[in-house]
């Protein structure tokens, strides 16, 4: 169990800590990691992949020293190893052009503005991970308590 990783990226450690804390209720089912830069995140997902684990979701800030969040998510989007990985942009500072790029070129699945609502973030994360699990064919019964009901039920109506 705990083969699916959630990776949070934010250069501000206090913010990173808050994101991870908001997702703590998922800790029994997913491995939740934090990195403080895009570069660190890329080397981490490499490591995760080489261990044979999966990257289910990346939640990234946008404005960071070095590679920006949108660039990071774009890199992940274009990496065939992570083609199913869900991506959330969590930022207070992306402008219109960044946002367009994030959607068109990085294929983000959700956009959150800072400050974010913890419950909303958690629900979105659950829903995206449910989609991830169903899409990748991982046995969903092991994740039952944290799955998004609506997504799961709709899937099972069509596929059971």
């Amino acid at each position: 169990m705990k083969n699916i990783n959630i990776i949070c990226v934010d250069d501000q450690s206090e913010v990173l800590d808050s994101v991870i804390r908001d997702l703590r209720s998922l800790e029994d089912f997913f491995r939740i990691e934090g990195t403080e830069s895009s570069e660190d995140c890329l080397s981490l997902i490499d490591e995760i992949d080489s261990r044979g684990e999966q990257v289910g979701l990346v939640i990234s800030d946008h404005v960071m020293p070095g590679t920006s969040g949108v660039e990071l998510l774009k890199t992940i989007f274009n990496d065939s190893r992570f083609s199913n990985t869900k991506k959330i942009l969590l930022t207070g500072q992306a402008n219109h052009a960044d946002t367009i790029k994030a959607i068109n070129e990085a294929g983000i699945h959700s956009y959150f503005e800072k400050p974010w609502n913890a419950e909303e973030l958690l629900n979105t994360v659950k829903s995206l991970l449910t989609q991830y699990i169903l899409k990748t064919g991982i046995d969903h019964t092991e994740y039952m308590p944290v799955l998004d009901q609506a997504v799961l039920l709709e899937y099972l109506r069509k596929n059971a």
């Binding site: 019964t141 009901q149 799961l152 039920l153 099972l156 109506r157 069509k158 596929n159 059971a160």
Partner: protein, 475 residues
């Protein structure tokens, strides 16, 4: 990825199964090496299905492959001959083992999958639910009954899981409007898996245990037609649903006065949608009429919607790939186990060594039901049926006429199949139970209480029905 516990379970299962190879000898029962191998494979399947170190359908696949390698006429050469180099007499033709996956009953199920997939795709399920739920008004009590009836009806043709998923999705937004302390929420959440499980008993294609039972009956030339199954199955389902409804209202009284379900929209009127409606109706009508009227048996009829939907591109290649092939493999594995028991002569040998003749028929029937119900609560219904039905089929055939008063061999096998569908007291008992439990509206205790009562009442009702059916010489 396998965790340590799973590896441990797998290893323990393998060790015990190997141990079982030597057990008959220790007990003084003499079996041929081929029969002993079947005993081991059977035990391995049973343990894998109970402990689940692997997904259950993979165990089925393993059963088929292990049988091909060890007990078929195309097995590894050193396993085909005894110490003197003589070929074993009871090896199973490898084609028969492979044929389990192309069994007519598998095709019958696949036909059911096509019907379900097409009606989901064209939203026939949702829209039909809307029409069917309308007469039940706005009183939560009657809506509960309506939901159970609709769920049961759908579950006769769709998988129990898909039906439960659909109905829970309809319910979820409405239940959110209930007061947090309204016990009625639990009644609704529980009603769905109960009705889905019970409804599956209504038709041969309702749930895989029925397939296992049909297969066992077929192999003894005691075939039950689609129409005949429905003739007793549907009334049974209706009575059990009403009993369950009373029970739920008693255990979880609803305080909310009025509610409204929002489900479905307009029926699609595209040519493809109309083809789905007509084909669905026609297939069911042909099934109910039976070969006495039109000459086609239910397995053949099941192929009609497949061809129609495929040609009309209602079911595309993608849809075809998304069918629950795992369920078919699971059932095929069950068939293979039954085949192993019968074709090697193992069943006869074992039954012969135990003096079943002296067993009271009624006791045997109840014993079988209790054992089956118990197992079905903790493991897959299909796996339970796969393990128990071949054994009880053999036992029943050895009993001869003493079972006649309670439905004979057919009665026993159908009641074992029913018992395996009645295991629904735990979240792990069935996927619909797991879904209902995951809503968070029903605790394990409430589910257990209701599930046990309905399981027992269901069994009692089964026996009464068998007695009645025997009395009017249906079986």
């Amino acid at each position: 990825m396998m965790t340590k516990t799973k590896w441990l379970k797998a290893i323990i299962s393998i060790v015990i199964s190997i141990g079982f190879y030597f057990l008959p000898e220790l007990l003084g029962v003499s079996l041929t090496p081929v029969e002993k191998r079947v005993v081991s494979i059977f035990m391995l399947a049973a343990l894998f299905w109970i402990l689940e170190p692997f997904p259950i359908w993979t165990t089925s696949m393993m059963v088929i492959v292990l049988m091909l390698l060890t007990v078929s006429n195309n097995a590894l050469s050193f396993l085909k001959t005894d110490s003197s180099g003589e070929l074993f007499k009871n090896l199973i033709p490898y084609k028969s083992i492979m044929a389990t996956f192309a069994d007519p009953i598998i095709m019958l199920f696949l036909g059911g999958f096509f019907l379900a997939a097409a009606s989901t795709k064209y939203r026939l399920d949702m829209n039909l639910a809307k029409v069917l739920l309308k007469p039940f008004g706005k009183n939560p009590k009657f809506i509960l009954l309506g939901l159970m009836m609709v769920t049961a009806v759908f579950s006769m043709f769709m998988s129990n899981t898909a039906t439960a998923a659909m109905m829970l999705a309809i319910l979820a937004p409405v239940l959110a409007l209930f007061d947090a302390d309204d016990k009625g929420r639990a009644a609704f959440a529980l009603a769905i898996p109960i009705a889905a499980n019970v409804g599956g008993m209504g038709t041969p294609i309702g749930t895989p245990p029925n397939a296992i039972a049909l297969k066992a009956l077929n192999s003894m030339d005691l075939s039950v037609s689609f129409g005949k199954w429905m003739a007793f199955g549907v009334p049974y389902v209706i009575v059990l649903i009403i009993i369950s409804w009373f029970l739920l209202l008693k255990l979880f009284p609803i305080t909310k006065q009025s509610m409204e379900l929002k489900v479905g929209d307009k029926f699609l009127k595209t040519p493809k949608a109309i083809i789905v409606y007509i084909t669905f109706a026609l297939t069911v009508i042909l099934w109910v009429l039976g070969d006495g009227v039109h000459g086609m048996n239910s397995n053949v009829i099941a192929m009609i919607p497949m061809a129609v939907f495929a040609l009309a591109q209602i079911i595309t290649k993608d849809d075809l790939n998304k069918m629950s092939w795992d369920v078919l493999w699971l059932v095929a594995g069950g068939f293979a186990l039954g085949l192993g028991l019968q074709a090697t002569g193992l069943a006869q040998n074992l039954i012969g060594s135990i003096a079943f003749d002296n067993f009271p028929a009624m006791g045997l029937m109840i014993g079988a039901g209790v054992l089956c119900l118990l197992m079905a609560n903790f493991m897959s219904h299909t796996a339970t049926a796969s393990l128990l039905i071949p054994i009880f089929a053999a036992v029943a055939s050895s009993l001869g006429g003493s079972l006649d008063g309670i439905g004979g061999v057919t009665g026993l096998i159908v009641s074992v199949a029913f018992a395996s569908s009645l295991g629904m007291s735990l979240p792990i008992s069935t996927p619909p139970n797991a879904l209902a439990h995951a809503t968070g509206l029903i605790d394990t205790k409430g589910m257990a209480k209701t599930g046990i009562i309905i399981g027992i009442l269901g069994m009692v009702l089964t026996y009464i029905m068998m007695y009645f059916l025997a009395a009017i010489h249906v079986f």
